[in-house]
């Protein structure tokens, strides 16, 4: 008999940290004092924070119980659109935790940190080759900081051209971070609507691109999972009027080995190592958001840059046009080691195949669920497909209900209500690391839920019933915020 992964299980209760413990317990091995006690000035001394005292075993049990309330990609299928929840290889964890990297002080002189500098230089080259760009910075801490770096580069470039600009074009399918990042540079976002095919039309861009506009931010493939087929024409218009093209590479997992971002007109591109390059997402970070640029924008990259001369790697700050620094140190090294390990493990052919299989899986789901769920753009997709709840609305079942019911079947829901251009959007990104059996079983779950929506819609309204908690009151949480205990 076929079984979905969702099951009832023994879920253990666990109170908050400070609802347990007893003063005088400890979970820490304090060092033996081998120097004299020194007394700090009395007027500066405080009492120390009011933390609970717990034993090591209590702390371990606490977090193990909490961990069991989490869905994770190691435990199950996680088709969260736009987030590329692919398998996070375990060898990458081993490489990142080596004492040589994990224990290294960031301000070691170059002679004492050649290994890290060599790895960074090599990773920059690999990412440049994969994207088709010319130069790379590894410093941004996440995709949004990569976007900020990109906007700062736009800003610095136009200032150097002697003509600062005030606006930026952001299509309606963009991630919300795009306008927020642009605003940090003082740019006003100018929206352009996508056309009936779900992509940007050159005419729409031509009608708003002027001498006050710094450029355009394009996510390609876009958030509908469609390739921006007019990108070259769009880039020509923008470049022709002195602007630059920003590529949001959050969806790079669709086009590895297929597209040369430099040749299609992208000037600045950020990558999310925690999406395309398999570094784990950690329940909300840390990520890493390297930024790749064309040669003419290289002088603006953040400092320091890694340089190699006479057999020695060094950091150099000697880039007077640089936008400056984004983090105190050099980037999220732990994730750089993981991504580097991932690329070296796959090589060119497997990276390309990864994208092919990711696109195959998304199209397969799209074809098999078409008709069961409404498909607003019925055409070949890239690595993700977008459905809506239009057919289920007749039974008073919404996207939210479908998402919550999926939990009972043992799946993490897709991304919902995004992109905004599709009302009630259900955005599914299966990735290349999920087997056909897993995907087939998920499709069956989606079909079963569609049937339930017709026959017993209340089952969906009540979902989830198998999780640690049932639906939570988000309105009350925001109205009377209780942010500490």
């Amino acid at each position: 008999m076929k079984e979905f992964p969702g099951a009832g299980g023994l879920i253990l209760n666990e109170p908050l940290l400070w609802e347990q413990g007893r003063r005088g317990r400890s979970g820490y091995s304090l060092p033996r004092p081998d120097v004299a006690r020194a007394e700090p000035p009395a007027e500066l001394a405080g009492e120390g924070p009011d933390f609970p005292d717990l034993s090591e075993a209590e702390v371990v049990r606490h977090y193990i119980r909490l961990s069991q309330w989490n869905f994770s990609v190691d435990a199950g299928f996680y088709p969260l659109g736009s987030c590329t929840m692919k398998y996070n290889p375990k060898t990458n964890e081993r490489q990142a935790s080596r004492p040589g990297f994990a224990g290294a002080h960031p301000l070691l002189p170059a002679a004492l940190c050649q290994g890290a500098l060599e790895l960074m230089a090599a990773l920059e080259c690999l990412l440049a080759e994969i994207t088709g760009m010319d130069a790379v910075t590894l410093q941004p801490a996440a995709g949004a900081q990569g976007e900020l770096a990109g906007m700062l580069i736009f800003h610095a470039y136009h200032r150097q051209q002697g003509r600062p600009r005030s606006k930026i074009i952001v299509p309606d399918t963009a991630h919300g971070t795009n306008p927020a990042s642009a605003a940090l540079c003082g740019y006003t976002a100018v929206p352009v609507a996508s056309n009936e095919r779900g992509v940007i039309s050159p005419e729409a861009v031509a009608s708003v691109m002027d001498a006050e506009t710094a450029g355009i931010m394009v996510t390609n493939p876009n958030t509908l999972g469609l390739f921006e087929e007019n990108i070259r024409a769009v880039a020509e218009i923008v470049h022709g009027r002195g602007g630059l093209v920003y590529g949001d590479g959050a969806n790079m997992n669709a086009v590895l080995g297929q597209v040369h971002m430099g040749e299609i007109g992208v000037d600045v591109l950020h990558l999310n190592l925690h999406k395309t390059f398999s570094t784990p997402h950690g329940g909300g970070g840390p990520g890493a958001g390297p930024v790749c640029v064309r040669r003419r924008l290289e002088p603006f990259l953040p400092v320091p840059r890694v340089r190699y001369a006479d057999g020695v790697y060094t950091f150099s700050d000697d880039y007077p046009l640089s936008i400056g620094k984004l983090q105190a140190f050099w980037g999220n090294m732990g994730n750089l080691v993981r991504a580097y390990s991932y690329i070296l493990s796959l090589g060119a052919a497997n990276l390309k195949r990864a994208s092919q299989l990711a696109v195959l899986a998304a199209n397969y789901i799209k074809e098999r669920l078409k008709g069961v769920y409404h498909l607003p753009y019925d055409r070949p997709c890239m690595h993700e497909c977008v459905f809506s709840d239009k057919l289920q609305q007749a039974h008073r079942v919404s996207t939210l209900d479908i998402a919550k019911r999926l939990m009972d079947y043992g799946y993490h829901p897709p991304t919902i209500y995004f992109p905004l251009v599709v009302p009630g959007a259900i955005m599914i990104e299966p990735t290349e690391t999920e087997s056909k059996e897993t995907i087939d079983r998920f499709i069956e779950a989606m079909q079963a839920i569609a049937a339930e929506a017709e026959q017993s819609p209340d089952t969906l309204h009540q979902a989830p019933t198998r999780c640690r908690r049932r639906r939570l009151d988000e309105t009350a949480a925001a109205r009377k915020p209780r942010l500490t205990g």
Binding site: G27, L44, P49, L80, V259, G282, L344, A354, R470
Partner: protein, 443 residues
């Protein structure tokens, strides 16, 4: 390839369902002029053991303890990480989950972050802490942008004794927003006097770091008072939060925003990243605060649970009017820090802070006995600044050749502090190594 499960038959069946003849055909939507002409040129794939050997070689070219002796903190500290903390932080239920958008299947991360927010607020003496920022430097930059939003004033004052790399990040974030940064000099004691602030009338914030870059404790009450009198916020940055186990917290001393680096709390130095941006403020400013927040609520059965909340401040709702563009933050590092704080407890944190204080005071005293000058006389935590004669540069280089980093030369960051070296020690630095260092720098 072991990460790609599809067999030839799987691919054939799936292609048939899609109606495509080949994998390449799936990319027909990409116009020919957008297709890559040449294959990617990357190294041949490595086996798992070849990768081990390769990374081994690179990691072997790094100077780390115990072979290397690094007497430097400067924003990155070598504290002991309990095995339990490393173990819990590597649980794949925490590591391989996404941001907790779906609370019913994310209660583990959500409760852990709620606990982190609570412990952080208690540590910093403020009412509310966010779910984390990237690092101490970007947290400070975002704090200053927040102060500009709260006060609607276009100028901030920033102490020169704030970590020089943090100040460069502040400059990057604030320059395009048109916010002017005025520098506050440090005095002969190494601390920033409130008198340096001068006219604060147009200031959104007065920002100092305490303990500052030189390890000196700032006179936060006086600085906060001057800032408040002029209607500005007092922003207290830090790079070593362990200090608040021993010294009064920034919130208690009058800071409106406390922000800084939490790497000390159980996170490996990892060549500078990922770290943990800690960020706390008063409840009255919470709607101006950047970053994610977890809040307590109930489910339909009235049971306690946790959700991401106050999202109306954030980029995915407010778009260009958001309080920040941050979305992915450093959540796993926040969980790690909370587990570390839980292991220590209140009593342990206090004792660990004392042991750290004892050690730097010991090294200070030994160097002073050996005739080495100390640059500043303000009280310090973990770090202090020593002055050597110019000929010490040769000694310094010789020690580096032996993998000993005898402090951080300050001249590249402060041209006025030639021959000044910033020393840092923690509980992991044995007394015999400090004694050996003193002998070396004497010779």
């Amino acid at each position: 390839m072991r990460y790609l499960p599809h067999t030839t038959e799987d691919v054939a069946e799936m292609l048939a369902a899609v109606g495509a003849g080949s994998l390449e055909e799936l990319f027909a939507a990409i116009p020919p002029e957008c297709r890559r002409r040449a294959e990617m040129r990357l190294p041949e794939p490595l086996t798992e053991w070849e990768l081990d050997a390769h990374i081994d070689r690179l990691a072997g070219r790094m100077a780390t303890a115990p072979e290397a002796k690094v007497f430097v903190g400067a924003g990155s500290y070598d504290h002991h990480i309990p095995a339990a903390v490393g173990f819990l932080a590597s649980r794949s239920e925490f590591v391989t989950s996404y941001t907790p958008y779906q609370p019913e299947v994310s209660q583990g991360t959500l409760q852990a972050v709620f606990e982190y927010q609570t412990l952080t607020a208690r540590l910093l003496g403020l009412e509310v802490a966010n779910a984390s920022m990237y690092d101490g430097a970007s947290a400070l930059a975002e704090a200053l942008l927040m102060a500009v939003r709260v006060t609607r004033r276009p100028r901030v004052a920033l102490a020169r004794a704030v970590h020089p790399l943090y100040r460069r990040v502040v400059e990057t974030y604030l320059a395009p927003a048109g916010v002017e940064v005025r520098e506050l000099a440090f005095g002969p004691t190494g601390a920033t006097g409130a008198a340096a602030i001068g006219d604060a009338a147009e200031l959104a914030a007065v920002a100092v770091q305490s303990p500052n870059f030189f390890g000196c404790i700032e006179d936060l009450p006086a600085i906060a008072q001057t800032a408040h009198a002029a209607g500005a916020l007092c922003v207290a940055a830090f790079s070593e939060p362990l200090a608040f186990g021993l010294f009064k917290s920034p919130g208690r001393l009058g800071a409106d925003i406390a922000c800084g680096e939490g790497q000390s709390m159980g996170i490996p130095r990892s060549f500078g990243g990922p770290g943990l941006g800690m960020f706390a403020t008063r409840m009255q400013h919470v709607r101006h605060m950047p970053g994610r927040l977890v809040g307590e609520t109930t489910d339909v059965e009235g049971r306690r649970g946790f959700v991401l909340t106050l999202a109306t401040r954030e980029q995915h709702i407010r778009r260009e009017k958001a309080t920040s563009n941050i979305c992915t933050n450093n959540s796993l590092c926040a969980l790690t820090a909370a587990a570390f704080m839980a292991c220590l407890g209140g009593s342990g944190l206090r004792e660990l802070a004392r042991l750290n204080y004892d050690r730097s005071e010991y090294l200070k005293a030994r160097l002073r006995q050996a005739g080495v000058g100390l640059a500043f006389d303000a009280p310090t935590f973990n770090e202090f600044t020593a002055v050597f004669p110019p000929r010490f540069r040769d000694t310094y280089r010789r020690l580096l050749d032996r993998n000993i980093m005898a402090g951080l030369p300050l001249e590249p960051y402060y041209p006025e502090l030639a021959d000044h070296y910033l020393f840092g020690v923690t509980e992991t630095m044995p007394r015999e190594d400090m004694d050996a260092l003193v002998r070396e720098v004497q010779s």
